[in-house]
């Protein structure tokens, strides 16, 4: 497993004097799913933006495949890193295939508007991998939330990236679709992709992530296998609620450790 992305002592903020991330050092290797966890507003999305090269760090540096990201063009970065945002709104009636084709923009050559053979195969493969062939001609705006998520992941895969960044890929999905998406990420990692997903559901992180990075107030509190990082007393403190780890049949599940029965009406 080689390091695809290395963050070295990265600090960043949107406004002068208000640091969002402080001294974050982190590595992402090919073949792994890394879960970014932490309470709302700790800088998970910001960290993903930095990893995608969409913002430049105040301090520290990011090495993408060993090269300083600050010296690479947007296009070069986009050929290696693909981003799946939380929500995508399409203002105009693009079809599913057209949305997936957007993933080929980092490879566009002037006036080769139809794209080449490699572009078409990349799009076909991405559509097939996410089971979207049937939907290819449907307008994107008509799809359900789960289908849209799959289309955007297909678009990201059409970029043929080394690193896939996802911001809450399971948000607003039912448990069936959550497991489907996470299973897909595992399969992609198995094929050699490096996957980073910001997750709210710690139990999904337990079940599907190789490693977890726990962020709190802009700092990295720990990184490593879920069982080592997500220790109940640490995350109880981070999230501000008592949590307990239940073990059964080799599974680990975090639940709220209610000190008393909650009265329900």
């Amino acid at each position: 497993m080689r390091a695809v992305l290395e963050l070295e002592h990265v600090s960043f903020g949107y406004r002068r004097g208000r640091c969002v991330l402080q001294n974050v050092s982190l590595q992402v290797a090919s073949g792994e799913v890394l879960a970014l966890v932490g309470p709302n507003g700790v800088g998970k999305t910001t960290l993903l933006r930095l990893m995608a090269g969409l913002r430049r760090p105040w301090e520290g540096q990011l090495l993408l495949m060993g090269r300083d990201m600050a010296l690479m063009s947007r296009r070069e970065v986009a050929r290696m890193v693909a981003v799946v945002p939380q929500e995508v709104h399409m203002p105009f009636p693009f079809t599913v295939r057209q949305v997936v084709e957007l993933g080929r923009i980092p490879y566009v050559k002037p006036f080769a508007l139809g794209g080449g053979y490699r572009d078409r195969t990349a799009v076909e493969r991405a559509l097939a991998l996410l089971g979207l062939e049937e939907l290819a001609h449907r307008p994107f705006v008509e799809l359900s939330g789960g289908e849209r998520r799959r289309v955007i992941i297909a678009m990201a895969l059409a970029q043929e990236p080394q690193l896939l960044l996802l911001d809450e890929p399971t948000a607003h999905l039912d448990i069936g679709h959550q497991v489907e998406v996470m299973g897909l990420l595992l399969r992609l990692a198995h094929q050699g992709l490096a996957v980073v997903a910001a997750l709210h559901d710690l139990n999904l992180a337990f079940q599907f992530a190789h490693r977890v990075a726990l962020l709190h107030r802009g700092r990295l509190l720990g990184q490593g296998p879920p069982g080592e990082v997500l220790r109940p007393h640490l995350i109880s403190e981070v999230y501000g609620v008592p949590l307990r780890l239940l073990r059964q049949d080799g599974h680990q599940v975090l639940v709220w450790d209610a000190p008393y029965d909650v009265p329900r009406q």
């Binding site: 969409l54 947007r74 986009a78 203002p91 057209q98 566009v108 002037p110 508007l113 307008p139 994107f140």
Partner: protein, 344 residues
């Protein structure tokens, strides 16, 4: 495949519109006479029928330039509208959304205060002032919207609205305070309502050159324009240099609009409606949308202008009235028929 068929169909439609527009008109010369003049002047063959000298003048110096002018203006406005709608992710955007119309109107008004008899390649003072006004207004809007090197879409739309209302207010202030303007109101009215006026072929050559370059640039930019459908950060994640691309597209659309304004005045609705109509039928992919919108806009305005100069002949209706009256219902029909997939 579908794209090629669409472009072919639209090209044939444009040729048909040009033919009809040239063949019909208010002056007493029928399609037969027009054909004879065209054969005489554009091919080495002799005219098949006798043509009068004045008929030649009507066709070559009045009707043909006007028809070609209408096509160029329609194409430029529709292309600019399609560019701005896609770039700003806003279905309500039209070529005038970032201040061009108000700038052009104010420029035209100011030019009417000073009775200058300027003329350059057939462009009168009012056209040149409108061109300059449109571009200056866009520059102002862009710089107002820019903060820390970035001009966000929302900032552009809001700055466009604010600058437009300021410039429009300034224009009205001039109209009520400067006495000289009262007598020239009809001239200004013609400009504001829109109407194709071509004095010399050189004008058309210039606008055609700009439109040609604009089309080529727009096609080269079309994949990146698609990326803007994902929002600016989404486009950046796909490797697009967002600020540079945005500035280029804004400059391109503004130049096209300003060029159209010099020949057609402020013709409304074409730049808003034609891209939508094309998108409803052919989809949102800018690679097909941009050339299709240009072709459709050209045909549409040629026919609208034909109506403008023949319906109340020998009088003229401002072409903007025709585009609104005919285009509006047609657009509503398309909207109801193809509503699927349109997130408004």
């Amino acid at each position: 495949m579908r794209g090629r068929f669409a472009l072919l169909t639209l090209s044939i439609a444009l040729i048909a519109a040009l033919a009809v527009g040239t063949a019909l008109g208010s002056a007493g010369i029928g399609p037969r006479g027009v054909l004879a003049v065209l054969i005489d002047r554009l091919t080495p063959l002799p005219p098949p029928w006798h043509v009068e000298r004045w008929q030649e003048t009507v066709v070559m110096d009045l009707r043909l330039p006007r028809v070609v002018g209408g096509a160029l203006v329609g194409a430029a406005l529709a292309l600019a509208g399609a560019l701005f709608q896609s770039l700003l992710r806003n279905p309500l955007a039209d070529p005038y959304v970032i201040g061009t119309s108000a700038g052009a109107a104010l420029g035209a008004t100011i030019s009417l205060i000073f009775p200058l008899r300027l003329s350059l390649w057939g462009f009168g003072a009012i056209s040149m002032a409108a061109f300059a006004g449109a571009l200056l207004a866009v520059l102002l809007v862009y710089n107002l919207a820019r903060m820390a090197g970035e001009a966000s879409v929302v900032a552009l739309l809001l700055a466009g609205l604010a600058v437009s209302s300021i410039l429009a207010a300034a224009m009205v202030l001039l109209l009520v305070t400067v006495g000289e303007l009262q007598v020239r109101l009809p001239q200004l009215f013609t400009f504001l309502m829109g109407g194709i006026t071509v004095n010399r072929w050189a004008q058309l050559a210039l606008v055609a050159g700009l439109l040609g370059l604009g089309l080529i640039a727009a096609l080269a930019l079309s994949p990146y324009l698609n990326a803007f459908a994902l929002g600016e950060e989404g486009a950046a994640a796909l490797g697009v240099e967002v600020e540079r691309t945005k500035a280029t597209i804004l400059a391109l659309g503004s130049l096209l609009t300003a060029a159209a304004v010099t020949v057609g005045g402020l013709i409304g609705f074409v730049g808003l409606m034609v891209p939508h109509a094309v998108r409803l039928v052919l989809g949102a992919d800018a690679r097909l949308l941009l050339p299709s919108a240009a072709l459709a806009g050209a045909s549409f305005l040629v026919l609208a202008d034909l109506g403008a100069r023949t319906l109340l002949a020998p009088g003229e209706i401002p072409v903007g009235v025709i585009t609104g009256l005919v285009g509006g219902p047609f657009f509503l029909y398309l909207l109801r028929r193809y509503q699927r997939g349109y997130a408004l």
